[in-house]
């Protein structure tokens, strides 16, 4: 299955992935309109320190601890994509407790949020991948 992979060697720390993620989620046509004067809360974010930077987002584990741990069944795997059903989520944060990548985060709407590979948006290729100017985030099949 195609997943998002990150290679810190090429990450520039430009943070565009975060903005493209937020834009992708907005379902608006124009990024300026979507993100103007908004504090974004993306599902991918850059960790950076001393010239090293890389993006972190859900790994879509084959054996996802978050899905196994979800107390309401809100997190499931659909066609390999770890997906959140926000209706069922009660924000207990057990997923945040268990995800070893720190890839699940709180959101404003009362449910947790996580990367769902843009399957619910109009992007096709995940927005962060499209927006990465240096091929540091790729969407591909790996062993």
């Amino acid at each position: 299955m195609k997943r998002v992979y990150v290679n810190e060697k090429w990450c520039l720390g430009c943070h565009l992935c975060e903005y493209y993620c937020a834009f992708g989620e907005s379902n608006k046509k124009d990024m300026a309109r979507a993100l103007k004067d908004i504090k974004i809360n993306p599902k991918i974010w850059i960790e950076e320190k001393d010239g090293v930077s890389f993006a972190v987002s859900c790994r879509h584990c084959k054996e996802p601890l978050c899905v196994k741990s979800c107390i309401t069944g809100a997190l499931t795997i659909k066609d390999g994509v770890v997906t959140i059903n926000k209706d069922k989520c009660i924000s207990c944060y057990t997923c945040i407790l268990i995800c070893p990548y720190g890839a699940v985060s709180p959101s404003e709407d009362g449910a947790v949020q996580k990367c769902e590979l843009c399957v619910k948006t109009t992007w096709g290729t995940p927005a962060c991948v499209e927006g990465c100017p240096n091929g540091a985030i790729v969407f591909e099949e790996r062993g």
Partner: protein, 409 residues
């Protein structure tokens, strides 16, 4: 071949899914004493609060049993296991034979014997959907509620009903709330938060006796109530396997979820598990662990090979928007951080993280959890960095590339 699973909650469901990972053919029967589709027990407080509905709190979709091609017997209680004959007997007398059996009977509320308790007319426990329905039906704006037990169940119950009643008083023998998961200052922090929302506490004191609508406390105080909720703890349902398998605090199982008896597996709250953060065998009535144990049992029943050996106590809980995440045990040296909304304690010794408590800011807590679960040597990471801020940056470049790029460089 027929596999029989007693229990329809996290461990039982985990087992069904575990079996189906390996074997699509074998017959699977789930027996549940409750008459419901599988549901999330921890969600019952949210149900009372109105944050979820009975429909949404279903643990799996409606077509789950069909999809898993598994037979579900609801509202039937197993009264006897006959290991020699490989049969279970149901309460209505019928007998079901099995090739492999999973006991996932969970736990039940433990209620100490209080004088006068039987005279209390409106008393409740808070574990099952039935409990929640009963309590929910009794809630009125003019009712005073007394909750005995300031643990996870008692406080979630308190949060769930606070808006629907006149007052909520929580009582505990321990000097602090959530004594099993918080240390003193953290408990104080949370208690203040709960008090600010209107919950009353009586700590370091117990019930001497009940007198109809009043509780006489050990400290001499008399507390009146209309509804009494008993949240004094749970204990594993092990009776079914008594004298069949080894039982200690709970049913004894190995890391493959096997009991001491052939072809009998057990998982979930009815078992005792090795807590790798402390090295002790404990009862850990926690949903994630139950699921994983159940899944492990299912895979192994179906002749797959799985081990579950990373159990640690861990809790994610929140009250009125304040989130608490804790894991492991609280021994060793302590890293402390106390700023504004961020309460953080990391406990470590012998180059390992033993446990942690986060209150308020719980972002990326799972990275700490993984350090405990994986027993990561702290000198292999940038521990001072990770103390400050959980993140993958603290790992080596190779580790990061492995984690984020699935590549070993």
């Amino acid at each position: 071949m027929r596999y029989v699973i007693i229990g329809n909650s996290a461990a039982g469901i985990g087992a069904v899914e575990g079996i189906r990972q390996v074997d699509n053919q074998v017959e699977v029967t789930v027996i549940s004493s409750e008459p419901y589709h599988t549901y999330s027990r921890p969600a019952i407080s949210y149900l009372l609060m109105g944050r979820t509905t009975e429909e949404k709190m279903k643990y799996r979709d409606d077509d789950f049993y069909d999809k898993m091609r598994c037979k579900i017997l609801c509202g039937k209680t197993v009264t006897e296991v006959r290991p020699a004959a490989k049969q279970v007997v149901l309460d209505e007398g019928s007998v079901i034979s099995y090739d492999k059996l999973l006991v996932a009977t969970g736990s039940e509320p433990f209620v100490p014997s209080f004088d006068g308790l039987d005279m209390v007319s409106q008393k409740f426990t808070f574990m099952s959907l039935d409990d929640a329905r009963k309590l929910g039906a009794a809630l009125r704006k003019d009712k005073q509620v007394l909750i005995v037990g300031a643990g996870l169940i008692g406080l979630k119950c308190a949060e769930g009903i606070l808006d629907k009643v006149r007052s909520v008083t929580v009582l505990d023998l321990a000097p602090r709330i959530l004594s099993s998961i918080l240390v003193e200052d953290g408990a104080q922090l949370v208690q203040c938060h709960l008090e600010s929302k209107g919950i009353d506490f009586r700590l370091s004191t117990g019930v001497k006796y009940f007198d109809s609508n009043r509780a006489m406390l050990v400290n001499g105080e008399m507390v009146g109530f209309d509804l009494l909720v008993l949240a004094t703890g749970v204990r594993p349902n092990t009776a079914l396997l008594a004298s069949i398998v080894d039982i200690d605090k709970g049913i004894v199982i190995n890391k493959k979820s096997e009991t001491s008896a052939k072809d009998i597996y057990a998982a979930g709250d009815c078992t005792q598990t090795l807590d790798i953060s402390s090295g002790e065998n404990r009862i850990m009535p926690l949903l994630p662990g139950a699921y994983m144990q159940g899944e492990c049992a299912g895979v192994n029943m179906a002749d797959g090979n799985m081990s579950f050996d990373k159990a640690i106590p861990m809790n994610a809980i929140g009250f009125f928007g304040k989130h608490i995440i804790t894991a492991g045990n609280y021994s060793g040296e302590v890293y402390t951080e106390n700023v504004k909304d961020r309460y953080k304690r990391l406990f470590y010794s012998d180059n390992k993280l033993n446990g942690y408590i986060l209150i308020g800011n719980v972002e990326k807590a799972g990275i700490y959890t993984s350090l405990i679960r994986e027993r990561t040597p702290l000198d292999s990471i940038d521990f001072s960095l990770i103390c400050e801020k959980p993140g993958l940056m603290a790992f080596t470049k190779e580790e990061r590339n492995q984690k984020l790029g699935s590549v070993s460089l």
